[in-house]
């Protein structure tokens, strides 16, 4: 199981990455941490003509908390964000979710933006970005744009990125004062792909709930101020609307039940965590 041949391009600044993407377009793949691209290369699910390594671009390596949101550059590894001292007060949802991303031995290399680029439906980081109303910063030779997470994840492993665009960073809104955040996941073992992952944000009495692992993309719903049986009804309606499917790991019915049960638990946890 070895990759097919490709040219290896080591970009040292963003302009070089843009130039290589402009030249190769869809025949190129951007390599950051490599934790999903490398298996895809080895299994020959992708056979690019060029692999563009962006980990030598210094400007992509930083976490910038100076603005109204947190900017996480394309070269920031999952372990680096997890070890960022301000994570708990700035992004409590990611602090709860990141330990569920792969294993320590893959978080050490895998990047935050790489997970966003790959857009696996059961991945934790896209789920959190959707729940937090984050945006993805895309750039190319032609310019720069920002796309909301809700518009970015368009299908299973499919995103709104154009073939000449580089994901330069994600922008994640900081924790709102007084809001509560919680994350839960169910899988066979810790570190396995999620069968169902849930995130909840409670602001005042308003409940926002997001689910991954069930549909082709992570899904989000604002429940408003619901409690008791109204909350159970809202979760049940959402579970049915997700269009869950059977696969090797779980049936659709099982997933819907997980959404109902874990949903209630994660929302209650977020309520308790309100600051």
């Amino acid at each position: 199981m070895k990759p097919a041949r490709f040219d290896y391009i080591r970009a040292v600044d963003v302009a070089e990455a843009h130039a290589a993407l402009a030249e190769f377009g869809n025949d190129a793949r951007v390599l950051a941490g490599g934790q999903t691209l490398m298996p895809m290369l080895s299994m020959r699910l992708v056979r690019p003509k060029a692999v563009i390594d962006i980990m030598h671009v210094p400007t992509l390596r930083g976490i910038d908390a100076g603005g109204s949101d947190i900017r996480v550059g394309a070269g920031v590894r999952q372990a680096e964000l997890l070890a960022w001292p301000a994570l708990g007060e700035a992004l409590p949802l990611l602090k709860a979710a990141l330990p569920w991303v792969g294993h320590a031995q893959t978080r050490s290399r895998g990047t935050v933006c790489g997970s966003v680029a790959h857009a696996d439906p059961s991945a934790e980081i896209p789920l959190c970005l959707l729940a937090l109303d984050a945006s993805i910063e895309l750039s190319s030779r032609r310019g720069r744009r920002r796309v909301k997470a809700a518009d970015f994840f368009t299908g299973m492993m499919t995103t709104a990125r154009a073939e000449n665009e580089l994901i330069e960073a994600v922008h994640i809104p900081k924790m709102q004062q007084g809001a509560g955040y919680a994350f839960r996941e169910f899988g066979r073992r810790h570190g396995d792909f999620a069968i169902v992952a849930c995130a909840a944000i409670v602001t005042g009495t308003n409940v926002r709930f997001a689910v991954g692992g069930v549909a082709d993309t992570p899904a989000l719903r604002d429940f408003g101020a619901v409690d008791g049986t109204a909350l159970a009804d809202a979760l049940d309606a959402f579970a049915w609307d997700l269009d869950a499917r059977d696969d090797l790991h779980a049936t659709a019915r099982y997933r819907r039940e997980l959404v109902r049960q874990m949903g209630r638990a994660v929302i209650e946890e977020a309520r308790r965590c309100r600051g």
Binding site: K2, R5, A11, V12, L31, Q35, V51, R109, H190
Partner: protein, 169 residues
């Protein structure tokens, strides 16, 4: 910008277990194959070759990482440690390796090199881990022989001995 063409071999240099080393690799060559076939360091094992089993885990720039999910050309300039670098001297095992032997923490040994590299790194950062934390950390490795019980016992024992040794100083 450095551009390495697909069908040629390129020089790759890095530090391996404290010594400067170099070899040649096509861009598509995995670091596992580079270590084993180009450099002859066969201590790093190849299991699933897609990052799941953990057998090929090595240390790259101070963090545990899958060698099979790394290109040899990506390792250029890096500081790399493999299982061959664990023993303090010829014929002498490290504290962690000794503990594995004492606790029968391996049977076939296929997963062992990767687990040793992970734990060696982990115990330096977390000298006093709980069994729970250790088990969560070990979830990044698959062992089909031991059931993990002796591996956890060996790691806890090694952690205790390493703590004692550092407090003696």
């Amino acid at each position: 910008m450095p551009r390495l063409s697909a069908d040629q071999r390129h020089i790759v240099r890095f530090t391996l277990n404290g010594r400067a080393i170099e070899g040649q690799a096509e861009p598509r060559m995995l670091l596992t194959d580079f270590l084993r076939h180009e450099l002859g360091f066969t201590g790093t094992h190849v299991g699933c070759e897609h990052g799941v089993c953990g057998a090929c885990t090595i240390e790259i720039n101070g963090v545990p990482a899958r060698a099979c999910l790394t290109l040899a050309v990506q390792a250029d300039g890096a500081n790399i440690r493999t299982v061959e670098g664990l023993a303090p001297a010829q014929g002498q095992l490290s504290v962690l390796q000794e503990a594995f032997r004492r606790h029968h923490a391996l049977q076939c040994g296929f997963c062992t090199a990767g687990i040793l590299m992970s734990l060696d790194n982990y115990l330096r950062k977390e000298p006093d881990p709980s069994e729970n934390d250790l088990r969560e950390f070990l979830s990044g490795h698959i062992c089909r022989c031991t059931g993990y019980v002796p591996i956890v016992a060996a790691a806890m024992d090694a952690a205790r001995r390493l703590r004692e040794a550092s407090s003696d100083v």
